[in-house]
């Protein structure tokens, strides 16, 4: 059996995993919203720029992106990134690229009449987006965003490869120290990851109910975006 000290180490690793996931998710969500809106913008330059961002950051593998950010950015620009900064930058930009496509799909699924009505009552483009389109689109975005968040949480295990003491790194560390039977360590770690992922699923479901309140869009268009 794992000793309580070892369990403590794993739990502190799990906390790092949660933090990396949360920071990356903040960056990723912001980028996704900006990316989703600007990929539908009237400006061709902006659309083109978003397209390039999405294709590049989705196309390259998260682990290669992470190594590139961590090892080459310092060499290229002389800026030093801590493993945590490199991790959230790589995972966040990666998530943002996938999320942009989700956000775009959700915004496109909102009936044109909503925007037209907002124009008719003379709302500025920003308020149209802020008060009319996005509140409805977010309901559609939530389920696929929940899946994406789980993917990010899983991908956060990669930061163990750049010396960040997350759950995976702690497990590898305990295993190489031969501190406990490797089967026990890894079973505990897999279960912890599973529990984090389960909490994300439940959390997103709560948010869905919260944002879906008073909106018809959740029921009528639910099938439009996975």
């Amino acid at each position: 059996m794992l000793s309580s000290g070892q369990l403590q180490q794993l739990l502190s690793g799990a906390w790092t995993t949660i933090q990396v996931t949360a920071y990356s998710a903040v960056i990723g969500t912001l980028l996704a919203l900006v990316g989703g809106v600007s990929s539908l913008s009237g400006s061709r330059l902006l659309r083109w720029f978003t397209r390039v961002y999405v294709e590049l950051f989705r196309g390259v593998s998260a682990i290669i992106l992470l190594f590139w950010v961590y090892f080459t950015l310092p060499q290229l620009f002389g800026i030093f990134l801590t493993p945590l900064q490199a991790g959230m930058l790589a995972l966040g930009t990666n998530m943002g690229a996938y999320g942009s496509e989700i956000a775009r799909g959700a915004i496109q699924a909102i009936p044109k009449g909503q925007t037209e009505a907002a124009i008719a009552i003379n709302l500025s483009p920003f308020r149209r987006l802020r008060h009319v389109v996005l509140p409805q689109a977010i309901v559609l975005m939530l389920p696929p965003f929940g899946n994406l968040l789980i993917e990010v949480m899983k991908a956060s295990a990669l930061v163990s490869l750049i010396d960040l003491s997350d759950l995976t790194e702690r497990a590898q560390n305990l295993r190489t120290l031969r501190a406990a039977a490797s089967l026990e360590i890894f079973t505990a770690v897999l279960v912890m990851y599973f529990l984090i992922s389960l909490s994300i699923t439940l959390g997103v479901r709560m948010l869905e109910r919260r944002f879906g309140r008073g909106l018809e869009v959740g029921s009528g268009l639910g099938g439009a975006v996975k």
């Binding site: 590049l56 290669i64 002389g78 899983k154 897999l190």
Partner: protein, 230 residues
Amino acid sequence: MTAGAVAQASPATWDWDIAQRMFPELLRGLSVTLQATLVGITVAMVLGLGLAMARRSSLPVVRWPVIGFIEFVRSTPLLVQLFFLFFVLPDLGVRLSGFTAGVLGLGLHYATYTSEAYRSGIDNVENGQWEAAVACNLSTRTTWGSVVLPQAIPTVIPALGNYLVAMLKDAPLLSTIAVLELLAVAQGLNSQLFRPLEAFSLAALLFLAVSIPAAILVRYLEKRYGYSRD
């Protein structure tokens, strides 16, 4: 390479000579990445179909463990699963080579995804087809093999294509379990020549040169088969 070594690095410019020296080796690494992906997706396609069929079993003792397995594997990181196969299994007396553990890990992880795709494909086969098979007194094997699967699988092809592209992006994880694929080669070159700029940038570019066309091809397939992931 440690954080300390990175801190000392000064801004560098691209060196074409070094890039040229690295290129052939990286290309060999890329071919290993592609091989692992192809074997991995084959495992995922076969195993995923098995999981999808087992999930529909009328026996709860088959159905529930399968559902539990799918949910568990899908919710935990592939990297940890690879470590499990490569580092933990030997302690239990099962020794796998890096490549075998790698394709098995990729295959198992993605089988849980492909099984969901097969499931929706199978669910889309009309009920009448099953009923007709019963009416014709077809055996379970004939019902699956000649009635249900031939109708279900074509609708699943685009989704499988998407998972192929996704798996390609995860294949560099095999560098962590001693498989000399693209990223491992890049890391090796970096520690020999201390040139992360060329090593990792070239690796990323080579990767994009495969993954972007692959993604475009899959999108084309989706259009052609009139199937949309959204």
